[in-house]
Protein backbone atom coordinates (compact mmCIF):
# COMPACT_ATOMS: atom_id res chain seq x y z
CA UNK A 1 0.00 0.00 0.00
CA UNK A 2 2.81 2.37 0.93
CA UNK A 3 4.84 1.48 -2.16
CA UNK A 4 1.70 1.88 -4.24
CA UNK A 5 1.26 5.41 -2.93
CA UNK A 6 4.86 6.37 -3.42
CA UNK A 7 4.65 5.46 -7.07
CA UNK A 8 1.26 7.19 -7.40
CA UNK A 9 2.71 10.38 -5.95
CA UNK A 10 5.69 9.99 -8.25
CA UNK A 11 3.37 9.65 -11.26
CA UNK A 12 1.34 12.61 -10.06
CA UNK A 13 4.44 14.71 -9.65
CA UNK A 14 5.60 13.82 -13.17
CA UNK A 15 2.16 14.72 -14.50
CA UNK A 16 2.30 17.99 -12.60
CA UNK A 17 5.69 18.75 -14.10
CA UNK A 18 4.25 18.21 -17.55
CA UNK A 19 1.48 20.68 -16.70
CA UNK A 20 4.13 23.09 -15.46
CA UNK A 21 6.03 23.03 -18.75
CA UNK A 22 2.75 23.48 -20.60
CA UNK A 23 1.56 26.46 -18.59
CA UNK A 24 4.58 28.40 -17.38
CA UNK A 25 4.67 30.56 -20.51
CA UNK A 26 1.03 31.52 -20.11
CA UNK A 27 1.70 32.63 -16.56
CA UNK A 28 4.43 35.05 -17.59
CA UNK A 29 2.71 36.49 -20.65
CA UNK A 30 -0.59 36.89 -18.84
CA UNK A 31 1.09 38.69 -15.99
CA UNK A 32 2.95 40.92 -18.40
CA UNK A 33 0.37 42.05 -20.92
CA UNK A 34 -2.81 41.12 -19.05
CA UNK A 35 -3.77 39.40 -22.25
CA UNK A 36 -6.09 36.44 -21.70
CA UNK A 37 -4.57 33.98 -24.12
CA UNK A 38 -6.84 30.95 -24.13
CA UNK A 39 -5.09 29.70 -27.29
CA UNK A 40 -2.00 28.69 -25.31
CA UNK A 41 -3.09 25.07 -25.58
CA UNK A 42 -3.21 25.39 -29.35
CA UNK A 43 0.49 26.31 -29.43
CA UNK A 44 1.17 23.28 -27.26
CA UNK A 45 -0.71 21.19 -29.78
CA UNK A 46 1.45 22.57 -32.61
CA UNK A 47 4.54 21.26 -30.80
CA UNK A 48 2.96 17.86 -30.26
CA UNK A 49 1.98 17.42 -33.89
CA UNK A 50 5.39 18.61 -35.12
CA UNK A 51 7.01 15.83 -33.10
CA UNK A 52 4.49 13.28 -34.37
CA UNK A 53 5.07 14.28 -38.00
CA UNK A 54 8.86 14.37 -37.76
CA UNK A 55 9.09 10.99 -36.04
CA UNK A 56 6.54 9.26 -38.27
CA UNK A 57 7.25 10.72 -41.69
CA UNK A 58 10.87 11.81 -41.48
CA UNK A 59 12.08 9.13 -39.08
CA UNK A 60 13.72 11.60 -36.69
CA UNK A 61 14.71 10.38 -33.21
CA UNK A 62 12.50 11.64 -30.38
CA UNK A 63 15.06 13.94 -28.77
CA UNK A 64 15.93 15.66 -32.05
CA UNK A 65 12.30 16.64 -32.56
CA UNK A 66 12.01 18.46 -29.23
CA UNK A 67 13.93 21.64 -30.24
CA UNK A 68 11.94 21.75 -33.48
CA UNK A 69 8.69 21.47 -31.54
CA UNK A 70 9.83 24.37 -29.38
CA UNK A 71 10.78 26.53 -32.38
CA UNK A 72 7.68 25.69 -34.41
CA UNK A 73 5.35 26.67 -31.58
CA UNK A 74 7.35 29.84 -30.92
CA UNK A 75 7.29 30.85 -34.61
CA UNK A 76 3.59 30.14 -34.89
CA UNK A 77 2.86 32.22 -31.80
CA UNK A 78 4.78 35.20 -33.16
CA UNK A 79 2.77 35.11 -36.39
CA UNK A 80 -0.52 34.97 -34.49
CA UNK A 81 0.63 37.69 -32.09
CA UNK A 82 1.58 40.06 -34.91
CA UNK A 83 -1.56 39.39 -36.93
CA UNK A 84 -4.26 39.22 -34.27
CA UNK A 85 -3.26 39.75 -30.66
CA UNK A 86 -1.67 43.18 -31.18
CA UNK A 87 -5.00 44.72 -32.02
CA UNK A 88 -6.56 43.65 -28.77
CA UNK A 89 -4.06 44.59 -26.06
CA UNK A 90 -6.32 47.41 -24.93
CA UNK A 91 -9.58 45.50 -25.43
CA UNK A 92 -11.61 43.94 -22.63
CA UNK A 93 -10.93 40.49 -21.20
CA UNK A 94 -14.14 39.33 -22.83
CA UNK A 95 -12.99 40.25 -26.34
CA UNK A 96 -9.58 38.73 -25.72
CA UNK A 97 -10.97 35.46 -24.44
CA UNK A 98 -13.42 35.21 -27.33
CA UNK A 99 -10.80 35.90 -29.99
CA UNK A 100 -8.50 33.29 -28.52
CA UNK A 101 -11.34 30.77 -28.13
CA UNK A 102 -11.94 31.37 -31.83
CA UNK A 103 -8.33 30.44 -32.51
CA UNK A 104 -8.73 27.32 -30.36
CA UNK A 105 -11.77 26.23 -32.39
CA UNK A 106 -9.97 26.80 -35.68
CA UNK A 107 -6.90 24.91 -34.47
CA UNK A 108 -9.03 21.95 -33.34
CA UNK A 109 -10.67 21.75 -36.77
CA UNK A 110 -7.37 22.11 -38.62
CA UNK A 111 -5.76 19.39 -36.50
CA UNK A 112 -8.74 17.12 -37.13
CA UNK A 113 -8.46 17.82 -40.86
CA UNK A 114 -4.72 17.12 -41.02
CA UNK A 115 -4.33 14.26 -38.56
CA UNK A 116 -7.80 12.83 -37.92
CA UNK A 117 -9.58 12.79 -34.59
CA UNK A 118 -7.92 9.76 -33.04
CA UNK A 119 -4.91 9.89 -30.71
CA UNK A 120 -1.51 9.87 -32.40
CA UNK A 121 0.93 7.55 -30.63
CA UNK A 122 4.68 7.67 -31.27
CA UNK A 123 7.31 4.98 -30.86
CA UNK A 124 9.77 6.04 -28.15
CA UNK A 125 13.20 4.45 -27.79
CA UNK A 126 13.19 1.33 -25.64
CA UNK A 127 15.23 2.76 -22.77
CA UNK A 128 12.66 5.54 -22.25
CA UNK A 129 9.81 3.07 -22.00
CA UNK A 130 11.38 0.81 -19.38
CA UNK A 131 10.91 0.98 -15.62
CA UNK A 132 13.43 1.20 -12.82
CA UNK A 133 12.70 -0.99 -9.81
CA UNK A 134 14.30 -0.25 -6.45
CA UNK A 135 13.12 -2.70 -3.82
CA UNK A 136 9.33 -2.33 -3.61
CA UNK A 137 9.27 0.86 -5.64
CA UNK A 138 9.02 1.04 -9.40
CA UNK A 139 9.34 4.18 -11.52
CA UNK A 140 8.84 4.80 -15.23
CA UNK A 141 11.97 6.12 -16.91
CA UNK A 142 10.00 8.49 -19.10
CA UNK A 143 8.36 10.09 -16.08
CA UNK A 144 11.75 10.48 -14.45
CA UNK A 145 12.95 12.15 -17.63
CA UNK A 146 10.04 14.59 -17.57
CA UNK A 147 10.69 15.47 -13.94
CA UNK A 148 14.37 16.12 -14.62
CA UNK A 149 13.57 18.17 -17.72
CA UNK A 150 11.00 20.25 -15.84
CA UNK A 151 13.38 20.86 -12.95
CA UNK A 152 16.04 22.02 -15.41
CA UNK A 153 13.56 24.34 -17.11
CA UNK A 154 12.49 25.74 -13.75
CA UNK A 155 16.08 26.41 -12.76
CA UNK A 156 16.75 28.00 -16.14
CA UNK A 157 13.70 30.25 -15.89
CA UNK A 158 14.23 31.30 -12.28
CA UNK A 159 17.91 32.06 -12.88
CA UNK A 160 17.16 33.74 -16.18
CA UNK A 161 14.46 35.93 -14.70
CA UNK A 162 16.44 36.84 -11.59
CA UNK A 163 19.97 37.24 -12.89
CA UNK A 164 19.98 38.25 -16.56
CA UNK A 165 19.42 41.63 -18.11
CA UNK A 166 16.53 40.34 -20.21
CA UNK A 167 14.99 38.80 -17.10
CA UNK A 168 15.16 42.13 -15.33
CA UNK A 169 13.46 43.77 -18.31
CA UNK A 170 10.68 41.19 -18.19
CA UNK A 171 10.19 41.75 -14.47
CA UNK A 172 10.07 45.49 -15.04
CA UNK A 173 7.37 45.07 -17.69
CA UNK A 174 5.33 42.78 -15.44
CA UNK A 175 5.55 45.09 -12.43
CA UNK A 176 4.73 48.31 -14.20
CA UNK A 177 4.41 48.32 -17.93
CA UNK A 178 3.90 52.05 -18.33
CA UNK A 179 6.89 52.91 -16.19
CA UNK A 180 9.04 50.43 -18.11
CA UNK A 181 7.95 52.06 -21.35
CA UNK A 182 8.71 55.46 -19.89
CA UNK A 183 12.24 54.37 -19.02
CA UNK A 184 12.85 53.55 -22.65
CA UNK A 185 12.35 49.79 -22.69
CA UNK A 186 10.95 48.46 -25.93
CA UNK A 187 8.01 46.72 -24.26
CA UNK A 188 6.51 45.44 -27.51
CA UNK A 189 9.72 43.68 -28.48
CA UNK A 190 10.31 42.28 -25.00
CA UNK A 191 6.77 41.04 -24.92
CA UNK A 192 7.07 39.44 -28.34
CA UNK A 193 10.19 37.56 -27.28
CA UNK A 194 8.67 36.50 -23.95
CA UNK A 195 5.55 35.38 -25.74
CA UNK A 196 7.58 33.37 -28.24
CA UNK A 197 9.61 31.68 -25.48
CA UNK A 198 6.50 30.96 -23.44
CA UNK A 199 4.71 29.44 -26.42
CA UNK A 200 7.87 27.52 -27.24
CA UNK A 201 7.75 25.88 -23.82
CA UNK A 202 4.10 25.08 -24.45
CA UNK A 203 5.14 23.42 -27.72
CA UNK A 204 7.80 21.45 -25.87
CA UNK A 205 5.19 20.43 -23.32
CA UNK A 206 2.92 19.31 -26.15
CA UNK A 207 5.69 17.13 -27.53
CA UNK A 208 6.44 15.65 -24.10
CA UNK A 209 2.73 15.05 -23.50
CA UNK A 210 2.32 12.61 -26.39
CA UNK A 211 3.69 9.64 -24.51
CA UNK A 212 2.04 10.50 -21.21
CA UNK A 213 -1.49 11.69 -22.03
CA UNK A 214 -1.70 11.33 -25.79
CA UNK A 215 -2.41 13.99 -28.36
CA UNK A 216 -5.60 14.52 -30.34
CA UNK A 217 -7.38 17.61 -31.71
CA UNK A 218 -9.18 18.22 -28.41
CA UNK A 219 -5.86 18.62 -26.62
CA UNK A 220 -6.08 22.42 -26.99
CA UNK A 221 -9.32 22.58 -25.05
CA UNK A 222 -8.85 19.67 -22.66
CA UNK A 223 -5.62 20.93 -21.13
CA UNK A 224 -6.57 24.59 -21.31
CA UNK A 225 -8.50 24.18 -18.08
CA UNK A 226 -5.46 22.73 -16.33
CA UNK A 227 -3.22 25.49 -17.65
CA UNK A 228 -5.62 28.14 -16.45
CA UNK A 229 -5.80 26.52 -13.03
CA UNK A 230 -2.01 26.57 -12.77
CA UNK A 231 -1.90 30.22 -13.76
CA UNK A 232 -4.88 31.41 -11.76
CA UNK A 233 -4.06 29.56 -8.56
CA UNK A 234 -0.29 29.98 -8.85
CA UNK A 235 -0.58 33.70 -9.37
CA UNK A 236 0.32 35.67 -12.48
CA UNK A 237 3.95 35.80 -13.55
CA UNK A 238 5.14 33.68 -10.66
CA UNK A 239 7.41 30.80 -11.70
CA UNK A 240 7.49 29.40 -8.18
CA UNK A 241 3.72 29.66 -7.89
CA UNK A 242 3.21 27.86 -11.20
CA UNK A 243 5.69 25.17 -10.15
CA UNK A 244 4.10 24.33 -6.81
CA UNK A 245 0.56 24.60 -8.14
CA UNK A 246 1.31 22.33 -11.09
CA UNK A 247 2.96 19.76 -8.83
CA UNK A 248 0.02 19.79 -6.39
CA UNK A 249 -2.45 19.68 -9.26
CA UNK A 250 -0.83 16.60 -10.79
CA UNK A 251 -0.64 14.75 -7.47
CA UNK A 252 -4.22 15.63 -6.44
CA UNK A 253 -5.51 14.58 -9.84
CA UNK A 254 -3.77 11.20 -9.88
CA UNK A 255 -4.55 10.40 -6.23
CA UNK A 256 -8.22 11.39 -6.48
CA UNK A 257 -8.63 9.36 -9.65
CA UNK A 258 -7.11 6.36 -7.89
CA UNK A 259 -9.15 6.60 -4.69
CA UNK A 260 -12.43 7.97 -6.04
CA UNK A 261 -12.50 7.07 -9.74
CA UNK A 262 -16.22 7.85 -9.94
CA UNK A 263 -15.99 11.43 -8.80
CA UNK A 264 -13.76 12.22 -11.79
CA UNK A 265 -12.24 15.67 -11.69
CA UNK A 266 -14.79 16.91 -9.17
CA UNK A 267 -12.31 17.16 -6.30
CA UNK A 268 -9.85 19.03 -8.48
CA UNK A 269 -12.33 21.69 -9.55
CA UNK A 270 -13.64 21.99 -6.03
CA UNK A 271 -10.16 22.64 -4.67
CA UNK A 272 -9.54 25.16 -7.43
CA UNK A 273 -12.72 27.16 -6.78
CA UNK A 274 -12.11 27.09 -3.03
CA UNK A 275 -8.54 28.35 -3.45
CA UNK A 276 -9.61 31.10 -5.83
CA UNK A 277 -12.31 32.26 -3.49
CA UNK A 278 -9.81 32.28 -0.65
CA UNK A 279 -7.07 34.10 -2.59
CA UNK A 280 -8.57 35.60 -5.78
CA UNK A 281 -5.17 36.68 -7.11
CA UNK A 282 -3.54 33.31 -6.59
CA UNK A 283 -1.65 31.75 -3.71
CA UNK A 284 1.75 33.08 -4.71
CA UNK A 285 0.54 36.40 -6.06
CA UNK A 286 3.22 39.05 -6.35
CA UNK A 287 0.70 41.86 -6.47
Amino acid sequence: MFARHVSLIFDGFAYGMLLFVLSVGLSVTLGMMNFVNLAHGSFAMVGGYVTVTLMRNAGWPFFATLPVAFLAAAAMSVVVERLLYRRLYRATELDQSLLTIGIVFVSIAVAAYLFGTIQQPVELPQYLRSRITIGDFSFGVYRLFIIIAALLITALLVLGLDYTRFGAQIRACVDNQRMARGLGLNVDRIFMLTFAIGSGFAGLGGALAIEMVGIDPNFALKYLVFMLIVVAVGGLASIRGAFFTAAALGIIDILSKYHWPKSGAFILYFVMVALLVWRPNGIFARR
Binding site: A91, D95, G102, V106, G264, F266, L276, N281
Partner: protein, 331 residues
Protein backbone atom coordinates in the same frame (compact mmCIF):
# COMPACT_ATOMS: atom_id res chain seq x y z
CA UNK B 1 -32.00 65.89 -31.32
CA UNK B 2 -33.80 68.14 -28.86
CA UNK B 3 -35.37 65.10 -27.26
CA UNK B 4 -32.02 63.49 -26.77
CA UNK B 5 -30.63 66.61 -25.18
CA UNK B 6 -33.52 66.83 -22.76
CA UNK B 7 -33.13 63.14 -21.98
CA UNK B 8 -29.50 63.61 -21.12
CA UNK B 9 -30.31 65.92 -18.22
CA UNK B 10 -33.52 64.27 -17.04
CA UNK B 11 -33.04 60.62 -16.06
CA UNK B 12 -36.75 59.87 -15.96
CA UNK B 13 -37.22 61.22 -19.47
CA UNK B 14 -34.23 59.10 -20.56
CA UNK B 15 -35.80 55.96 -19.15
CA UNK B 16 -39.19 56.81 -20.63
CA UNK B 17 -37.55 57.33 -24.00
CA UNK B 18 -35.77 53.97 -23.80
CA UNK B 19 -38.79 52.03 -22.67
CA UNK B 20 -40.89 53.36 -25.57
CA UNK B 21 -41.91 50.54 -27.93
CA UNK B 22 -40.51 51.09 -31.44
CA UNK B 23 -42.17 50.06 -34.69
CA UNK B 24 -39.19 47.92 -35.71
CA UNK B 25 -39.67 45.85 -32.55
CA UNK B 26 -43.28 45.16 -33.51
CA UNK B 27 -42.08 44.01 -36.92
CA UNK B 28 -39.47 41.77 -35.28
CA UNK B 29 -41.97 40.05 -33.02
CA UNK B 30 -44.44 39.61 -35.88
CA UNK B 31 -41.66 38.20 -38.06
CA UNK B 32 -40.85 35.46 -35.57
CA UNK B 33 -44.38 34.14 -36.12
CA UNK B 34 -43.72 33.64 -39.83
CA UNK B 35 -42.14 30.15 -39.53
CA UNK B 36 -45.59 28.73 -38.67
CA UNK B 37 -46.67 29.40 -42.26
CA UNK B 38 -43.45 29.87 -44.25
CA UNK B 39 -41.19 27.06 -42.99
CA UNK B 40 -43.41 24.66 -41.05
CA UNK B 41 -40.90 21.85 -41.56
CA UNK B 42 -38.28 23.76 -39.56
CA UNK B 43 -40.35 24.40 -36.45
CA UNK B 44 -38.22 22.10 -34.29
CA UNK B 45 -35.16 24.11 -35.25
CA UNK B 46 -37.10 27.31 -34.58
CA UNK B 47 -37.94 26.20 -31.06
CA UNK B 48 -34.24 25.51 -30.49
CA UNK B 49 -33.52 29.05 -31.65
CA UNK B 50 -36.10 30.48 -29.25
CA UNK B 51 -34.57 28.53 -26.36
CA UNK B 52 -31.02 29.55 -27.27
CA UNK B 53 -32.21 33.14 -27.59
CA UNK B 54 -33.67 33.04 -24.09
CA UNK B 55 -30.40 31.59 -22.80
CA UNK B 56 -28.37 34.29 -24.57
CA UNK B 57 -30.74 36.93 -23.22
CA UNK B 58 -30.06 35.74 -19.68
CA UNK B 59 -26.32 35.95 -20.26
CA UNK B 60 -26.71 39.46 -21.68
CA UNK B 61 -27.94 40.63 -18.27
CA UNK B 62 -24.57 39.95 -16.67
CA UNK B 63 -22.16 40.22 -19.61
CA UNK B 64 -23.77 43.02 -21.57
CA UNK B 65 -25.36 45.10 -18.84
CA UNK B 66 -23.19 44.52 -15.80
CA UNK B 67 -19.85 43.88 -17.49
CA UNK B 68 -19.08 40.57 -15.75
CA UNK B 69 -17.61 37.76 -17.81
CA UNK B 70 -18.99 34.30 -17.23
CA UNK B 71 -17.70 31.18 -18.95
CA UNK B 72 -19.86 28.88 -16.86
CA UNK B 73 -23.37 30.00 -17.59
CA UNK B 74 -24.36 26.55 -18.80
CA UNK B 75 -24.43 25.57 -15.12
CA UNK B 76 -27.80 27.28 -14.72
CA UNK B 77 -29.12 26.05 -18.05
CA UNK B 78 -28.19 22.51 -17.07
CA UNK B 79 -29.63 22.77 -13.56
CA UNK B 80 -32.90 24.03 -15.00
CA UNK B 81 -32.95 21.29 -17.61
CA UNK B 82 -32.30 18.53 -15.09
CA UNK B 83 -34.83 19.97 -12.63
CA UNK B 84 -37.59 20.09 -15.24
CA UNK B 85 -36.56 16.75 -16.72
CA UNK B 86 -36.42 14.91 -13.39
CA UNK B 87 -39.77 16.32 -12.31
CA UNK B 88 -41.43 15.14 -15.53
CA UNK B 89 -39.71 11.78 -15.40
CA UNK B 90 -40.97 11.08 -11.89
CA UNK B 91 -44.62 11.62 -12.62
CA UNK B 92 -45.39 15.34 -12.77
CA UNK B 93 -45.39 16.31 -16.46
CA UNK B 94 -47.28 19.59 -16.21
CA UNK B 95 -45.14 22.04 -18.26
CA UNK B 96 -45.80 25.44 -16.64
CA UNK B 97 -45.18 24.32 -13.07
CA UNK B 98 -42.21 22.34 -14.41
CA UNK B 99 -40.72 25.57 -15.72
CA UNK B 100 -41.30 27.21 -12.35
CA UNK B 101 -39.37 24.39 -10.68
CA UNK B 102 -36.56 24.74 -13.25
CA UNK B 103 -36.29 28.46 -12.60
CA UNK B 104 -36.41 27.90 -8.86
CA UNK B 105 -33.61 25.32 -8.93
CA UNK B 106 -31.40 27.61 -11.02
CA UNK B 107 -32.24 30.52 -8.71
CA UNK B 108 -31.06 28.56 -5.68
CA UNK B 109 -27.76 27.66 -7.37
CA UNK B 110 -27.38 31.25 -8.60
CA UNK B 111 -28.08 32.62 -5.13
CA UNK B 112 -25.50 30.37 -3.51
CA UNK B 113 -22.80 31.17 -6.08
CA UNK B 114 -23.58 34.89 -6.15
CA UNK B 115 -21.77 35.28 -2.82
CA UNK B 116 -18.59 34.12 -4.54
CA UNK B 117 -19.08 36.16 -7.71
CA UNK B 118 -19.11 39.57 -6.07
CA UNK B 119 -15.92 38.92 -4.15
CA UNK B 120 -13.49 38.52 -7.05
CA UNK B 121 -12.01 40.42 -9.98
CA UNK B 122 -12.15 39.86 -13.71
CA UNK B 123 -9.59 37.15 -14.48
CA UNK B 124 -10.38 35.15 -11.37
CA UNK B 125 -14.05 35.53 -12.27
CA UNK B 126 -13.53 33.81 -15.63
CA UNK B 127 -11.78 30.97 -13.81
CA UNK B 128 -14.30 30.65 -11.00
CA UNK B 129 -17.33 30.64 -13.29
CA UNK B 130 -15.59 28.07 -15.49
CA UNK B 131 -14.72 26.05 -12.41
CA UNK B 132 -18.25 26.12 -11.03
CA UNK B 133 -19.58 25.03 -14.41
CA UNK B 134 -17.13 22.13 -14.58
CA UNK B 135 -17.94 21.22 -11.00
CA UNK B 136 -21.63 20.79 -11.79
CA UNK B 137 -20.78 18.91 -14.98
CA UNK B 138 -18.67 16.40 -13.03
CA UNK B 139 -21.35 16.13 -10.37
CA UNK B 140 -24.03 15.29 -12.95
CA UNK B 141 -21.67 12.90 -14.67
CA UNK B 142 -20.90 10.95 -11.51
CA UNK B 143 -24.51 10.89 -10.26
CA UNK B 144 -25.31 8.35 -12.95
CA UNK B 145 -28.28 6.84 -11.09
CA UNK B 146 -30.14 10.13 -10.97
CA UNK B 147 -29.11 11.94 -14.15
CA UNK B 148 -28.26 9.06 -16.44
CA UNK B 149 -24.70 10.42 -16.75
CA UNK B 150 -23.28 10.11 -20.24
CA UNK B 151 -26.43 8.49 -21.61
CA UNK B 152 -28.54 11.51 -20.79
CA UNK B 153 -31.82 11.72 -18.93
CA UNK B 154 -34.39 9.62 -20.71
CA UNK B 155 -38.02 8.76 -20.13
CA UNK B 156 -39.40 12.30 -19.81
CA UNK B 157 -43.15 12.36 -20.41
CA UNK B 158 -44.79 15.74 -20.81
CA UNK B 159 -48.46 16.51 -20.33
CA UNK B 160 -50.14 18.87 -22.83
CA UNK B 161 -49.68 22.61 -22.25
CA UNK B 162 -52.78 23.99 -20.46
CA UNK B 163 -53.98 20.39 -20.58
CA UNK B 164 -54.85 20.97 -24.25
CA UNK B 165 -51.88 21.52 -26.62
CA UNK B 166 -49.98 18.27 -27.03
CA UNK B 167 -46.25 18.34 -27.86
CA UNK B 168 -46.36 17.17 -31.50
CA UNK B 169 -43.69 15.70 -33.72
CA UNK B 170 -43.53 18.75 -36.00
CA UNK B 171 -42.85 21.18 -33.20
CA UNK B 172 -45.94 23.40 -33.52
CA UNK B 173 -46.56 23.32 -29.79
CA UNK B 174 -42.84 23.35 -28.96
CA UNK B 175 -42.21 26.51 -30.96
CA UNK B 176 -45.34 28.33 -29.82
CA UNK B 177 -44.65 27.42 -26.20
CA UNK B 178 -40.93 28.40 -26.32
CA UNK B 179 -41.76 31.59 -28.16
CA UNK B 180 -44.41 32.56 -25.62
CA UNK B 181 -42.02 32.03 -22.72
CA UNK B 182 -39.30 33.96 -24.56
CA UNK B 183 -41.64 36.86 -25.25
CA UNK B 184 -42.88 37.12 -21.68
CA UNK B 185 -39.33 36.97 -20.32
CA UNK B 186 -38.24 39.54 -22.87
CA UNK B 187 -40.96 41.98 -21.81
CA UNK B 188 -40.09 41.58 -18.14
CA UNK B 189 -36.35 41.97 -18.71
CA UNK B 190 -36.84 44.91 -21.05
CA UNK B 191 -38.73 46.69 -18.31
CA UNK B 192 -36.11 45.70 -15.74
CA UNK B 193 -33.21 46.96 -17.83
CA UNK B 194 -34.89 50.30 -18.46
CA UNK B 195 -35.53 50.92 -14.79
CA UNK B 196 -33.32 52.87 -12.37
CA UNK B 197 -31.95 49.49 -11.29
CA UNK B 198 -30.95 48.72 -14.90
CA UNK B 199 -29.36 52.13 -15.18
CA UNK B 200 -27.17 51.55 -12.15
CA UNK B 201 -26.12 48.19 -13.61
CA UNK B 202 -24.88 50.02 -16.69
CA UNK B 203 -23.08 52.37 -14.37
CA UNK B 204 -21.25 49.40 -12.83
CA UNK B 205 -20.32 48.20 -16.30
CA UNK B 206 -18.92 51.60 -17.27
CA UNK B 207 -17.03 52.25 -14.08
CA UNK B 208 -17.06 49.65 -11.32
CA UNK B 209 -15.13 51.89 -8.91
CA UNK B 210 -17.14 55.04 -9.23
CA UNK B 211 -20.54 53.47 -8.61
CA UNK B 212 -19.83 52.54 -4.96
CA UNK B 213 -18.22 55.95 -4.54
CA UNK B 214 -21.47 57.73 -5.41
CA UNK B 215 -23.35 55.54 -3.00
CA UNK B 216 -24.78 52.79 -5.21
CA UNK B 217 -24.72 49.36 -3.54
CA UNK B 218 -22.86 47.69 -6.41
CA UNK B 219 -22.39 44.32 -4.76
CA UNK B 220 -26.03 43.79 -3.97
CA UNK B 221 -26.99 45.01 -7.46
CA UNK B 222 -24.62 42.52 -9.06
CA UNK B 223 -25.93 39.73 -6.88
CA UNK B 224 -29.51 40.56 -7.78
CA UNK B 225 -28.93 40.60 -11.52
CA UNK B 226 -26.80 37.46 -11.28
CA UNK B 227 -29.62 35.56 -9.58
CA UNK B 228 -32.18 36.89 -12.08
CA UNK B 229 -29.92 35.85 -14.92
CA UNK B 230 -29.55 32.39 -13.39
CA UNK B 231 -33.33 32.05 -13.11
CA UNK B 232 -33.87 32.96 -16.78
CA UNK B 233 -31.11 30.56 -17.86
CA UNK B 234 -32.87 27.90 -15.78
CA UNK B 235 -36.10 28.64 -17.64
CA UNK B 236 -34.28 28.16 -20.95
CA UNK B 237 -32.90 24.85 -19.70
CA UNK B 238 -36.33 23.75 -18.53
CA UNK B 239 -37.83 24.61 -21.92
CA UNK B 240 -35.12 22.60 -23.63
CA UNK B 241 -35.80 19.54 -21.47
CA UNK B 242 -39.55 19.78 -21.95
CA UNK B 243 -39.63 20.36 -25.69
CA UNK B 244 -37.08 17.66 -26.54
CA UNK B 245 -38.11 15.25 -23.75
CA UNK B 246 -34.39 14.62 -23.19
CA UNK B 247 -31.52 16.10 -21.22
CA UNK B 248 -28.00 15.43 -22.46
CA UNK B 249 -25.02 15.82 -20.15
CA UNK B 250 -23.91 18.33 -22.76
CA UNK B 251 -26.39 20.82 -21.24
CA UNK B 252 -23.81 21.52 -18.51
CA UNK B 253 -20.69 21.45 -20.68
CA UNK B 254 -18.05 24.12 -21.16
CA UNK B 255 -18.83 24.15 -24.89
CA UNK B 256 -22.40 25.13 -24.11
CA UNK B 257 -21.18 28.08 -22.01
CA UNK B 258 -18.76 29.15 -24.73
CA UNK B 259 -21.42 28.82 -27.44
CA UNK B 260 -23.94 31.03 -25.69
CA UNK B 261 -21.28 33.67 -25.18
CA UNK B 262 -20.46 33.46 -28.89
CA UNK B 263 -24.14 33.93 -29.79
CA UNK B 264 -24.36 36.99 -27.57
CA UNK B 265 -21.16 38.59 -28.86
CA UNK B 266 -22.09 37.78 -32.43
CA UNK B 267 -25.39 39.62 -32.11
CA UNK B 268 -24.06 42.37 -29.87
CA UNK B 269 -23.98 42.41 -26.07
CA UNK B 270 -25.89 44.94 -24.01
CA UNK B 271 -28.76 45.42 -26.47
CA UNK B 272 -31.37 42.76 -25.55
CA UNK B 273 -31.97 41.99 -29.22
CA UNK B 274 -28.28 41.07 -29.65
CA UNK B 275 -28.77 37.68 -28.02
CA UNK B 276 -31.90 36.97 -30.11
CA UNK B 277 -30.26 37.86 -33.43
CA UNK B 278 -27.02 36.11 -32.48
CA UNK B 279 -28.81 32.90 -31.48
CA UNK B 280 -30.76 32.88 -34.74
CA UNK B 281 -27.68 33.32 -36.92
CA UNK B 282 -25.65 30.87 -34.85
CA UNK B 283 -28.16 28.03 -34.91
CA UNK B 284 -29.13 28.46 -38.56
CA UNK B 285 -25.43 28.57 -39.51
CA UNK B 286 -24.69 25.48 -37.42
CA UNK B 287 -27.60 23.65 -38.99
CA UNK B 288 -26.41 24.49 -42.50
CA UNK B 289 -22.65 24.10 -42.02
CA UNK B 290 -22.81 21.05 -39.82
CA UNK B 291 -25.13 19.54 -42.42
CA UNK B 292 -22.28 19.76 -44.92
CA UNK B 293 -19.60 18.39 -42.64
CA UNK B 294 -20.16 18.21 -38.89
CA UNK B 295 -16.50 17.80 -38.07
CA UNK B 296 -15.44 21.16 -39.45
CA UNK B 297 -18.25 23.24 -38.03
CA UNK B 298 -15.80 24.42 -35.36
CA UNK B 299 -13.51 25.81 -38.04
CA UNK B 300 -16.20 28.16 -39.33
CA UNK B 301 -17.32 28.99 -35.82
CA UNK B 302 -13.78 29.97 -34.85
CA UNK B 303 -13.28 32.00 -38.00
CA UNK B 304 -16.58 33.78 -37.45
CA UNK B 305 -15.59 34.57 -33.88
CA UNK B 306 -12.23 36.00 -34.90
CA UNK B 307 -13.84 38.08 -37.64
CA UNK B 308 -16.52 39.46 -35.33
CA UNK B 309 -14.02 40.44 -32.64
CA UNK B 310 -11.63 42.09 -35.09
CA UNK B 311 -14.10 43.78 -37.43
CA UNK B 312 -17.33 44.14 -35.45
CA UNK B 313 -16.33 44.70 -31.83
CA UNK B 314 -19.93 45.50 -30.83
CA UNK B 315 -21.50 42.61 -32.69
CA UNK B 316 -23.77 42.68 -35.69
CA UNK B 317 -26.32 45.00 -34.10
CA UNK B 318 -23.53 47.32 -32.98
CA UNK B 319 -22.22 47.43 -36.53
CA UNK B 320 -25.67 48.17 -37.91
CA UNK B 321 -26.21 50.93 -35.33
CA UNK B 322 -22.86 52.46 -36.26
CA UNK B 323 -23.71 52.39 -39.98
CA UNK B 324 -27.08 54.02 -39.33
CA UNK B 325 -25.66 56.77 -37.16
CA UNK B 326 -22.92 57.52 -39.71
CA UNK B 327 -25.54 57.78 -42.41
CA UNK B 328 -27.67 60.02 -40.21
CA UNK B 329 -24.77 62.38 -39.58
CA UNK B 330 -23.68 62.67 -43.22
CA UNK B 331 -27.16 63.34 -44.60
Amino acid sequence: MADQFKAAIDPQALLREQVRWRWIETIFWLAVLLPFWVTPTYLVLCSQIAIAALFALSLDLIVGYSGLVSLGHAAFFGVGAYAAGLLAKHGWGEPISGLAVAALAATVVGYLTSFIIVRIGQFALIMVTTGLGLLLFELANSAHDITGGDDGLQGIRMWPVFNYFRFDLYGYTAYAYSLAVLFVCFLVLRRLINSPFGLSLRGIRENPRRMPAIGAPSRSHIRKIYVISAAVAGLAGGLSAQTTAFVALDALSFQRSAEVLVMLILGGAGRLYGGLIGATIFIVARDQLAGMNPQYWYFWLGLLLIAVIIFLPNGILGGVAQLLSRKGRSS
